[in-house]
Structures are given as C-alpha cells and as structure tokens.
C-alpha cells in the first residue's frame, strides 16, 4: 500500500498534481480572500471546460503521432454554421429547445465534416498532420469568414445560453459536461480497444499495421472524434459568449498543445494520460486566473507559462536521466 502511494506521487501525474497544489496554494496566498472565494472557484469552473475539452481533443490526436492545428477553427466554423441555423429558427419564432437541438446537431455535423476532411487528408492521402491541418486551418478560417463576412453570429435562443451559464446543484453545466467528457475520453483512450490501438499506432504505426490493426481507419476516426470534441467546446464557447465568430478561442490553439505536453503527452505520439492533461489544464487555469486577479502584467503571465513548460520538461528530462 505504502509503495503504491509512493509510486503515485513519483509518477508524472503525481508530480504534476503536486505542482497544481503548490500553484493553487501560492495563488491563494498572493490574493488572499479573492482567489479562494467561492465566486472565483465557480468562475474558474466556468472557464476551464472549453479550454479543457480543446486540450483533450488535441491530446488524443497527439497520441496518434499527429497534431491538429485546425482545432480552434474547427470549433468556430461549426459554431458559426450551427449558430446560424439556431438563430434563424429562433428568429422565425421557432421553439427554443428545438432550435438549440437543431443547432447542436448541426454544429457536431459540421465539425464531423471538418474531421472527415482532416482525417482523409492525413490518414488516406498520407500528408503529414502538421501540414494538412495547417492548410485546413486557413481553409476553415476562410470558410467562416466567408459566411460571417467578418461579423458575429448572434441572436441565439435563451435556452442555448443556459448551457454555458446554468448550474445543476450549484455545479456549472460546463463543468458537468467537462467531467463527462473526461470520463468519456478516458474510457475511449485508456480503456477501449480503439484507444489501445491509438497508443500502439502512436508508437509505431508499422507494427500496428503488421498486427492487423486498421491503422488508416483508426487515424481517420481519431480526427473525427477530436473534431466532435472541438464542436462541443464550440457549443460551450458560443453559449458562454452568446455569439459565434471565427476568431473565438484562437489563443487556445498553442495553449492546448502546451497543456498536452505539460501533462506528459509525448509530442511524437504513443504516450500520454488523460489525467495528466486534465491536471495540466487546471494548472494553466489557476495560473492564468490567479495572476490576473493578482494583477500581474498579462505578458509576464505568458512568460511564466512558457517558463513552467520549459522547467517541467527539464525536470522530466533530469528524472528520466537519473532513473536510467
């Protein structure tokens, strides 16, 4: 039992969790009474999910050995298309709940199309993920702009706003959704046969292929699933911001990569735990909110986050070196 605890603490996730506790503690000290207020905790619980879901989406793609640079534009393109339908139904006097359902279905459908596009180019044509999704990023942004002509889509029914701002038993709905998605992606990646194939593909696609794994199809499906996750993050964003626009969340893109890596995901694929990414997302959230409340210059917050990324990876390197 004792060795089990010890193992947990010295695991990558254990170290991360300690860092999380430390950062949390430090932020509480920096802004006494403010950071640790119920209001702030709740406010962080509203902010965390959209970024967290995007990070998880990025992570499962990274585990296959890929990367998805079109992630945030997938989210915004789908929220724009779905939002338009929703706003139109709503404007025509349609039933609010029906409009919301139709909107969400279309958002997920649109994201699936984006996922199919990325997945096809990466898995079946064989283009390196970074390039395929770099092109897709420009393409999706272009389509979004073409639809909105630079404006924002708004006029969503009231029911839709509840998704981003409502609570159940005092817990924000986005948080509940996030927890469900954590459990879902955990089951998917770490417990399902497809997830296990994804890890093996990420390590060595050739071996997986030679073992009868349908590598192309699984990579294709992973991009599809990752895009659907992006659409869910999109639903949250559109609801929280009461509108849809192509640039929403653009700052999340590289942060999502950073969160995955900080969480112990191997950037070249094959390794990474959902728990690690979730803790990393929490660390970034606490630092971001904490330093903001504290009043640190926003650019120095970026410096701190970049520094932490380098420091944590250096620690990983040193501990690995020592264990060898």
């Amino acid at each position: 039992m004792k060795s089990g605890v010890k193992k947990l603490i010295v695991s990558k996730e254990g170290i991360l969790f300690c860092i999380f506790l430390f950062v949390f503690f430090l932020m509480s000290l920096l802004s006494p009474g403010r950071f640790l207020s119920w209001y702030n905790l709740q406010s962080m619980a509203y902010q965390l999910p959209e970024f967290g879901i995007l990070a998880l989406s990025m992570m499962i793609v990274i585990v296959t050995g890929g990367i998805n640079l079109s992630l945030t534009y997938t989210a915004t393109l789908s929220m724009i298309v779905g939002g338009m339908v929703m706003a139109n139904i709503s404007a025509a006097g349609g039933n609010g709940i029906l409009a919301v359902l139709a909107g969400i279905v279309i958002m997920i459908g649109m994201a699936s199309l984006c996922g199919v596009f990325n997945g096809f180019v990466v898995a079946y044509i064989g283009v390196t993920p970074m390039l395929a999704t770099l092109g897709a990023m420009t393409l999706f942004e272009g389509i979004s702009l073409n639809i909105t002509k630079g404006g924002a889509i708004s006029g969503f029914p009231f029911e839709f706003l509840m998704i981003g701002s409502g609570t159940v038993l005092g817990i924000p709905i986005p948080m509940i959704l996030f927890i469900l998605i954590i459990v879902g992606t955990w089951l998917f990646l770490e417990r399902s046969k497809m997830g296990m194939s994804i890890y093996m593909i990420g390590c060595n696609p050739k071996v997986a292929l030679y073992s009868g794994v349908r590598v192309k199809r699984i990579i294709f499906q992973t991009y599809l699933i990752a895009s659907v996750l992006a659409a869910i993050a999109g639903v949250l964003m559109a609801s929280r911001y009461n509108s849809a626009k192509e640039s929403y969340g653009s700052s999340y893109l590289l942060q999502a990569v950073a969160a995955s890596v900080l969480g112990g995901t191997n950037i070249s694929g094959g390794e990474g735990k959902i728990a690690g990414t979730v803790i990393a997302v929490m660390i970034l959230q606490v630092i971001s909110s904490g330093l903001n409340i504290f009043g640190l210059n926003r650019y120095l917050t970026n410096v701190v986050m970049g520094g932490i990324l380098i420091v944590v990876l250096t620690i990983n390197f040193l501990t690995e070196k020592r264990s060898k």
Binding site: V10, S243, N292, V304, I308
Partner: protein, 332 residues
C-alpha cells in the same frame, strides 16, 4: 519524495520573481478600483489610452487597473473579465473584441454590483451603464470619406485596406463611409472589397503594392486601423506615385510623421486615445459617485463632451486631422 521537493523548490524559485515583480501593484483596499480593459494590450493605440487612464486614476486618487488580453480574442477577454469580477472591483470599462460575446459576462458583473461601461467600441447597449465613444461612428466614417474625396476628387477608383475583416468598429466605419459615398459621391468606384492586413504595416504595404498593379487607375486608398494607412503610404511612396494616388486613413500622428512629411500619406484622422482613456475613467468615477454626464459638460484635460438623448452615450468630440503642416504639434 526528494524529486517532489526539487520540483517544488524550482517552482518556488520560478514564481518568487513574479511576486517580487507584481508586489508593487497590489490593490489598496477600501479604494475605488476601476478596470479599463482594451481589446488587447501591447499596441500603440491602446498604450496611449493606458497612459490617459492611469493619469486619470492618479488625478482622481483612485486605483485604475489597465489590463487586457495579449491577442484580440473575445474568449480571452471574457475569461479575464470573469477573473476580475472575482477580484472584486467597482467598475469595469471594456472595449469589446466582440460585443455579443461580452453580454453574458457583463451581466454577471452587473449582478455582482459592478458598474459596467464600454469604451472605444460599443458593447450590448442593454447591459452597459454608460457608453463612452470617442466619436460618433457614422460621422467618423463619413469624415474619412470626405477626406478621401478632398484628396483624390469625387470620381475615380479607390480601395480600402483594413486591419481585419472581423474587427467590428473598423467594419462599422467602413460601412458608414460606403453608404455615405454611395449617396454623396456616386463617382467614386471601390475596386474590390476591403482588403485585410492583419493589423500589420508590412502586410498593408504588400497588399497595397498588389492593389496598385491590379488596378492601374487607382486614385485613392483608405487605410482603416492604425498600421494600415502607413503600409499603404509606404507602398505609394516607394512606387513614386504619391502624386497620383491619395492615401488617407486612421493613423496616429507620431507614427505616421515620416509619411505625412512627404505627403505619401495625405491626411490622417484620429482622436487622442489618451484622452479617451482619461475620459473613460472620469466617467466611471463620476458614475460611481452618482453623477450623470451632461451634454456640453466640460471635462478637465479632455474638453467638452456631448451626450445623446438616452443619457448614457457619451461622445468625446470630433477627431483631429493631421497633415504635413500640423502633425508635429500632436503628441500621441
């Protein structure tokens, strides 16, 4: 365990400098705290408004926090506002990257008893207590087109280079200007849709070069957003076409000096962003003290303001036009 300790020590080290750096900014309690949030920090325009806002804080003896996202991302802005609500402030003045996106968070702020103002770019009118405009958007757009016609004449081809396709206030001015031109100057011919330049002079320069070649009869270029007129002017200057192509736009007088001097940029028009920042803080402060703005009211260091009939839309005043002759007398 040792490893964990190492980690903690390193983190401690890492963050200690943060503490050292930020400690001078710790809020003084019991003092009025007003947040002024620009669309983003780190660009000249919003830097200038920062100096004004901070100065107003000093003059009024209140605490002004001037902070915003590092990229013009509405999502980031919303997150920061949520954090600031947690921090507990008295007033929030925001220049929204996207008006609709701010509505929920501003409603939250109101619920928390915080005064909500918008500045620079209007937010959802139903949630703000006061709306501080540098200028009337429609008038400003029309003014820019008047300047264009003044420089290129009322007939001929012209193009628009803009900061970004989805920047709401830029779009508002352009739309106002275009509608006005249609009615007032039917001889003007816009050759192609507004060309986005990513808020970068380099891109504006490149795109203007392309425009000059694609449309050989081009007589005028309107640059909207502060770097755009400069890039356009640079292109015209280098092509040696400053006599045949008139560039006008919304630039800061200090940055555009070199181009105004040789008239490759004929006229720039903008208000003093520092004054806008100053006015915003003063208005927020007055509002917290229960004072409503009055039409024609004289604000120290700013000047006479006008207020719309709704009683909450404050207009700072007409923009200043800068030309070769007068640019040196402006300090922003």
């Amino acid at each position: 365990m040792k490893r964990v300790l190492t980690v903690l020590l390193l983190m401690m080290f890492c963050l200690s400098f943060v503490v050292a750096n930020g400690s001078q900014e710790v809020a003084v309690s019991d003092e009025i705290t007003i947040v002024v949030m620009p669309k983003l920090v780190g660009i000249p325009y919003f830097n200038a408004s920062e100096t004004g806002a901070i100065q107003a804080g000093k003059d009024l003896g209140i605490n002004v926090i001037y902070t915003g996202p590092t990229t013009p991302d509405a999502a980031e802005q919303v997150r920061m506002l949520e954090d600031l609500i947690s921090k507990g402030v008295d007033a929030i003045c925001v220049a929204p990257n996207d008006a609709a996106a701010m509505t929920p968070v501003l409603m939250k702020a109101k619920k928390a008893g915080i005064a909500v103002l918008d500045w620079d770019t209007p937010a959802d009118a139903s949630v703000v207590d006061l709306s501080i405009h540098q200028i009337d958007d429609r008038e400003y757009g029309e003014h820019i087109w008047d300047l264009l016609v003044q420089e290129m004449g009322d007939t001929g081809d012209y193009a628009i280079v803009t900061g970004g396709l989805s920047a709401a206030n830029l779009n508002t001015w352009i739309d106002a200007g275009l509608a006005y031109a249609k009615k007032q100057y039917p001889g003007l011919n816009l050759v192609t849709g507004k060309v986005p330049t990513d808020e970068k002079q380099q891109v504006a320069y490149q795109k203007t070069l392309d425009l000059i070649k694609a449309y050989p009869n081009l007589k005028g270029v309107v640059g909207v957003s502060t770097p755009a007129p400069l890039g356009a002017a640079q292109a015209v200057q280098e092509k040696g076409m400053k006599d045949s192509i008139a560039v006008v736009g919304t630039s800061l007088p200090t940055d555009s000096g070199p181009y105004l001097a040789d008239e490759s940029l004929r006229v720039g028009t903008l208000w003093d962003p520092a004054k806008l920042g100053y006015l915003t803080v003063v208005m927020a402060y007055n509002f917290l003290n229960g004072e409503k703005p009055q039409d024609g009211q004289e604000i120290a260091n700013v000047g006479k303001i006008s207020v719309w009939a709704d009683g909450r839309t404050v207009i700072m005043g007409p923009p200043a036009d800068f030309t070769k002759e007068n640019y040196a007398s402006f300090s922003f």
